[in-house]
Amino acid sequence: MTFLIAFLGSCPVTQGEIRFPPPEFESGYTFPQTTSPAPQSVLQEYIDAAVLVVGLLLASHLILKRRSRRAIFVLMIGALLYFGFVRDGCICPIGAIQNVTLTAFDRGYAIPIAAAVFFVVPLIFTLFSGRVFCGAICPLGAIQDAVLIRPVAVPGWLESGLRLFAYAYLGAAVLFAATGSAFIICRYDPFVGFFRLGGNWNVLILGASLLLIGLFVGRPYCRFLCPYGVILRHLSRLSKRRVTITPSECIQCRLCEDACPFGAIREPTGNWPEGEYRIAKRRLALFLVLLPILVAGGGWGGYALKSQLARVHPRVRTAERVYLEEAGQVQGTTNVSDAFRATGQTTEVLYADATRIRGRFALGGALLGGFIGLVAGGKLLVLSIRRRRTEYEADPAGCFACGRCYKSCPKEHGRLKRIRETAAGRA
């Protein structure tokens, strides 16, 4: 046999699709080009980032210097219109948590610069001037703040319990983003449907329900669900400046306490009843012992749920479906299993992939469970420590910097030389 390779070896190898030539038209017809409208330019994202920074600067000024609820409200509505309705609510720091997480865990993922900026700029502003982002810029906060018509005070204890969900939501979002499974914050974003004036009906119902609650309960998403709010809460404890009640001028009228729909005005601490100190000490010791147990228990629970949690990953879902079909435990095929079979891959590879992803969820689930245990245990500890307050003050963590307390404060009216007999004037 002769081998042609030696002298034909240098021929270029045709790779890729065989392009079957289109017909040769005699009438001179030339086929049109397939159209391809360009995506939105990068410039738009830079404009958004600039608007964010300017908005936050303005918000800081209005909240800390002007101390005017009306101005803050106008800015908030402006931000709602721009980031919400004009930009479709689709560049937001809350979702950017996931992009940042994925960047840390997936080497192949490149974070858009705008997402990184949107994630970090509000954090930095929080460190300097408290939660001004929540108060005046965040469109999700703004839409809830705008519908808050008849605030009902939520008891402090209930708020403590419900806040746990925000931590769990943050933990789950990080877990699913880190494993490359899903961006659940975006999936369950309740208000984006309103910003786009349309969308999945379930999401719209979810958003409408939250807004309905928001008529009476101030900012339910921000307080009980928002994962970014969790981060901002803790950062704002450290902030340089924030919404304050000036102690030297406070006349302890408690009007601000009534005006705050978020229960963020803390009253001075009173004297504990007789014998409470001893009980408190023992309780503290108990919770200190309980903390590692909660962490371990949560970790174990999260680990035990690894296969269920892993199901959020599409590859695992595919593997489970295909396995059940192959094992004859379910009848028929689905789009997912059909699509898998059309790839011609072996199930061995699929199962190996799924097992590997489950392995990641074993660790991730344990960490998530442990985190929830830690948060709950920590919360119990904090609630058992006595802190001293001699004045009325705005709780740095819970304050959304909405400025309602400014409006209600008689001293503030004095400062602004707007003394009126009644606070009923529309601000």
């Binding site: 081998f3 705008a146 319990g161 009253e267 009843p273 749920l305 396995y323 709950a376 009923a424």
Partner: protein, 568 residues
């Protein structure tokens, strides 16, 4: 005062009426949108289904003109309806937004105007209440935790699927015992060059056909050696454009299949020395799949039937003569020594790929320059070690995890000969200068503690050593055969044997098989004394080391693959 409050009342009434109007409009638009939704979710599909059924009817009854016009009318209606609904939903949503805004603004104004001015409270000592509140809060946290736990339990109740079948098929790789009886990689099990069989022919002739069981052409050239697993023999071949894996039937010599390995990198960029060629790396098998690597950085796995399981490009290696390290396997991992560049760019690494999926199982980065030696997995005191060579180090890793076990700084130059493990020592050659033996029992840097000896009177530049545990034999590519004692490194003899050598020497029982470039196999007595036992001529140029199986030798010539054995 009274006047003012009356004026406020007027405003309040106006605001309230506006809010009511806004509310009514909101209700209307919500109702319209819901009606629209119901229309498109229920009416639309039912009409569409009706149309689909009518279209089927048309096929059965093609002459029915009324049916035809009905179909066309309904079709038009559905399409118009769809567009109209989309448009309507869009407009209604905007109107809804506007009316909600009116409702909210007016409602807020009305509410504020009607609000009773708040009464200032008094600061009282509320210590007891605060203690109670804290208690309630703790219970609430416990309740929240319980709800989360309940949710997790609910999720947990959905059951899980265990991929039992995948494991039932047995391990996806052959056992150690099985491997020892095969020739699964460059120079056989452990890269030692020692045949497990002693019934190997000692005479043949390529010209007369004596003891040549078969001879089969290899489509594309390559300097890699045959790999044997039971009745299959694997080779690779390549030119700048095409890379292929070949599978031959051991019985008949028939080419059973050939598999193309694609590339994503431009082969033209490669600068490869002619002496290295485009297929210098020998393939490796774990008994289930065959793996091959090419100097373009393309690694591929095939099953024994020739189906390509996966393909991966590791990035074109920067190797001065062309990449040439062969593959090794450990359990289901494919181990790639991927040393490149001058060592300062941090591109060198040892990579383990999962044989089933092709994914990177582990990666050990190293600051060592390019090397051409093939890594070996050896069992030291029952534990596996992956031994790699790169100027100036000998580094051992755990093949399962990629953790470094020990390293010794004892080598130099362009390292092409591969290491061997015999008599409790890892031996490696520094080209032209020395043979180094290291005790592989250390941890960390063992340069000062575990280097057993150095034989510093020359060494081969290409051929790897071979040893029976007592003596180690070196073959210089020019014409020297050197024998040293493994225990001490003392040189026993140095004999001139005429010939040019590229293939590494092999041991069969007490015989040393040495293949020269002209295709002449020289057989020597192993042991203290140098003694030539015979010569067998193949009549074809040979660069690759031979492979040994039960009663057979497989030799790759420049154009053919030979099977040598006693005919039955």
């Amino acid at each position: 005062m009274i006047q003012e409050s009356e004026r406020i009342q007027v405003w309040r009434r106006a605001a309230r009426s506006t809010a009511i109007v806004g509310g009514v409009f909101t209700g209307i638009f919500v109702a319209l949108l819901i009606a629209n939704l119901i229309g498109s979710a229920i009416l639309g599909p039912s009409r569409e289904n009706k149309l689909a059924a009518m279209k089927l009817q048309v096929q059965k009854d093609p002459t029915n003109q009324t049916l035809l016009s009905e179909v066309r009318q309904l079709d038009l209606k559905i399409r118009r309806d769809r567009i109209w609904r989309l448009d309507f939903a869009h407009k209604a949503a905007h109107m809804l937004l506007a009316s909600v805004v009116v409702l909210l603004v007016a409602g807020k104004i009305a509410y504020d105007l009607g609000k009773v001015p708040p009464r200032p409270g008094h600061a009282t000592d509320r210590g007891e209440i605060q203690v109670k509140e804290a208690k309630r809060a703790r219970w609430a946290v416990a309740g929240g935790l319980a709800m989360l736990a309940a949710g997790m339990t609910l999720v947990g109740m959905s059951g899980s699927v265990e991929f039992a079948q995948a494991e039932e098929a047995g391990p996806p790789f052959a056992s150690m015992e099985e491997r020892l009886m095969q020739w699964p990689r460059f120079r056989g099990p452990g890269g030692a060059g020692v045949s497990a069989y002693t019934n190997i022919p000692t005479s043949w002739n390529g010209k007369t056909g004596e003891n040549i069981l078969w001879k089969s052409p290899v489509p594309m050239s390559g300097r890699n050696s045959p790999v044997v697993w039971k009745d299959r023999i694997f080779l690779t071949g390549a030119d700048p454009n095409v890379r292929q894996v070949y599978c031959y039937d051991a019985k008949s010599g028939q080419l059973l299949w050939k598999g193309d390995v694609p590339t994503v990198s431009a082969a033209a960029k490669l600068e490869i020395m002619e002496d290295t060629g485009y297929a210098a790396c020998t393939a490796a098998t774990d008994g289930r799949r065959i793996y091959a690597i090419f100097p373009t950085g393309d690694v591929a796995a095939f099953d024994f039937n020739g189906r390509r399981l996966w393909h991966k490009n590791l990035g074109v290696p920067d190797s001065s003569y062309g990449y040439a390290s062969s593959l090794e396997t450990y359990e289901k991992l494919v181990l790639v020594q991927y040393d490149q560049g001058d060592g300062t760019e941090g591109k060198s690494k040892v990579i383990a790929l999962d044989g089933v999926t092709g994914r990177v199982a582990w990666e050990a980065k190293r600051t060592l320059p390019n090397s051409w030696a093939t890594p070996v997995v050896v069992q030291v005191e029952g534990k596996p070690q992956l031994i790699t060579l790169a100027d100036p180090n000998m580094v051992a890793y755990s093949p399962a995890t990629g953790e470094e076990i020990w390293r010794a700084e004892c080598l130099g130059g362009d390292l092409a000969p591969s290491p061997i493990y015999a008599g409790g020592l890892v031996m490696a050659i520094q080209p032209y200068s020395q043979l180094v033996a290291v005790k592989p029992t250390g941890q960390g840097d063992v340069t000062k503690t575990h280097v057993a000896w150095k034989m510093e009177e020359g060494g081969p530049d290409i051929c790897s050593p071979v040893s029976d545990g007592t003596y180690v034999y070196l073959l210089e590519s020019a014409d020297l055969l050197i024998c040293c004692r493994v225990e001490t490194g003392e040189k026993i003899y140095e004999q001139e044997i005429k010939g040019d050598f590229r293939a590494s020497p092999s041991l069969v029982g007490d015989k040393l098989y040495v293949l020269d470039m002209k295709g002449m196999m020289r057989i020597f007595q192993a042991g203290l004394e140098f003694k030539e036992l015979g010569k067998c001529e193949l009549g074809e140029e040979c660069f690759a080391s031979p492979a040994f199986a039960d009663g057979r030798i497989y030799i790759r010539g420049a154009a053919n693959l030979y099977c040598i054995g006693q005919a039955q």
